[in-house]
Amino acid sequence: MEKRPLIIDCDPGIDDAQAIMMLAASGAFDIMGITTLDGSCSLQQTSVNALFLSELYGIRTETAIGASRPMVRSGMPYAEETNGSNGLAGYSYERPEMSLYGGLAWELVYRRALEADGNLEIIALGPLTNIATAVLKYPALTEMIKQIVIASGSSRAGNITPYAEFNSFRDPHAMSVVLDAGFKRLVMVDLEASRKAFMYADEAVRMGEYYGRVGKLFRRMINYNRDKARENGERDDTPYYSHASVAAAIAVNPELARLKPYYALCETQSTLTMGQTVIDWHDRFNHRPNVALVDSIDRDGYIKLFFDCLSSYSEKDGGNANE
């Protein structure tokens, strides 16, 4: 089957590292570029991480840096607690050799969109600053993108405030611009989707059981997440969530999710609900739908895809990997 052209917009980040692994290993995509922004950690760190991950996963593409801060908000914290000081659970690696694309993120996106002649897809795993900047600068872009999948927003509970998800809280204005932009197909993989596609704790543990360089990184990441969870008083059998990799799975195999069209907005003004995505469940705003929201997901199918992809990089060690 022909590979689908894809741009990965990301701020790796542990779950982004997991997601990019799936996007690379699945074989579904011709990855035409990676764009980075600040989010889980600084722009500089996410960019170096992205270069490292490209090299690690064998992705041959150009990486372009993008936004170093949210569009409007200032003084926003990074997610170091979740991702570790360097965004990758403190995993140390040799500084990657691969160089950066000459232009900025939105320029690469637009250029690739022109080249792909209507077939380009985007998956945005972090805050939406880069994509918002792209559509503000190039209004015609929305017509040129076949599909954009975003790992942002929360239709019910949030994870950084009671109702807001981290990415949309960090740059709610960008989220609002993207929701409003008029993309032909905008798949919103919100926090509820990742909650439905949870990993049982014993499944998550399996992430640490692979040989090789990829295995080593995944072992470090899952151990870091589990240690933090323990420090926070969570039980060892608490499920594990990887928001970005659920979005990646749905991008790879759309049949894993059932989607429903809704009109979604992002709150940009309230102090209590800043960054909350408001889903117009009952058509109160009388507005045509702008997102395809994940309604249900094949959890087992997601888990299978995740581990199929991971094991394509290395043999499983049966629980004693210690490279």
Partner: protein
């Protein structure tokens, strides 16, 4: 004498037309391009009006269209309809022929970025509408920030408002864009209502402007007639302000304007004050000034400048 390279972003508009005429006539300014934004009317209307005015003035500058609506705010139709008329040019847009030249086949921000990038000298950007295009330029091109010596804006108000009690129309049309521009680190010259309401033309002043006596000046002066009715009869002012040429006047001759440095931000969340400029006039926020706010203007000198501009456009 070296002239200052200027990029002009407009939402034409009766007074925007004066801004274009002033910027294109003075030897102090080299007008690199004109970009259009929604504002007084829709983007289509402001683009068409801009092309018509450019043709009336026989300008040879590239024009490109930009934002259709604010970054967050929904389009508010006809922000300035009361003063500018349904067509943005006091009901007289139809008297100008359909323009022969068309918009460039690229976006406003691409045009601006290209112009700044290829200009050997640093530039000044002048804005007479909502700040959506300029905010997008600053977001998308961090590498160009230090190539911009200043952004001269018609908008905001240290005190007062027009669209809302404490919010000026251009800022209220896109508060997020205004906040992005003000906090970008690029120097901002804010020609707010404090000065622009003093930049008015009485009936006598308008008769004097009319003495320029060319086809172009006649058209511009005609548009002031209906425009002034709103300000004089509805708002009961002594004359009609011509705000949008004030930032151009400031670039040409800063000495006719009194500027006060303030730290200024734009309120984004207020139920009543969204879009208002919050100027730290008391110095209580302990932040370095990011804005020089125009607080007064030598009205006579300003009107003389406009008259000189109108006489530049001969009928030849």
């Amino acid at each position: 004498m070296s002239s200052i390279p200027v990029l002009l972003d407009v939402d034409t508009g009766v007074d925007d037309a004066f801004a274009i005429a002033l910027a294109a006539s003075t030897p102090y300014i080299k007008l690199l391009c004109i970009t259009t934004c929604f504002g007084n009317g829709t983007l289509e209307q402001s683009s068409l009006n801009t092309l018509k005015i450019a043709e009336l003035l026989k300008l040879d500058v590239p024009v490109a269209a930009g934002a259709r609506k604010g970054i967050i705010s929904p389009l508010r139709r006809g922000l300035g309809r009361e003063a500018h008329g349904d067509d943005g040019l006091a009901g007289r847009a139809g008297k100008l022929p359909y323009p022969r030249r068309s918009l460039l086949d690229m976006g406003a921000v691409e045009l601006m970025a290209g112009m700044i990038g290829s200009c050997p000298d640093n530039v000044i950007i002048a804005s007479t509408g909502p700040l959506t295009n300029i905010a997008t330029l600053l977001l998308a091109h961090p590498e160009l920030h230090d190539r911009i010596d200043g952004i001269a804006i018609s908008g905001g108000a240290v005190f007062g408002g027009n669209l809302l009690p404490t919010a000026e129309g251009n800022f209220a049309a896109d508060p997020e864009a205004a906040q992005i521009v003000l906090t970008s680190g690029v120097k901002v010259l804010m020609c707010g209502l404090d000065a622009t309401e003093k930049a008015y033309a009485t009936f006598e002043d308008r008769e004097r402007l009319r003495l320029a006596g060319t086809r172009a000046s006649d058209f511009l002066c005609d548009t002031l007639r209906e425009y002034a009715e709103y300000y004089e009869n509805t708002m009961l002012m002594d004359g009609c302000p011509i705000p949008d040429a004030v930032p151009i006047a400031w670039i040409i001759n800063p000495s006719i304007i009194k500027g006060t440095p303030y730290y200024v931000e734009v309120d984004l969340n207020g139920k009543y004050t969204r879009g208002s400029t919050i100027a730290d006039t008391l110095g209580v926020r302990d932040r370095r000034p990011n804005v020089i706010a125009a607080t007064d203007i030598d009205r006579r000198a300003y009107l003389k400048m406009l008259f000189d501009a109108l006489t530049y456009y001969t009928d030849r």
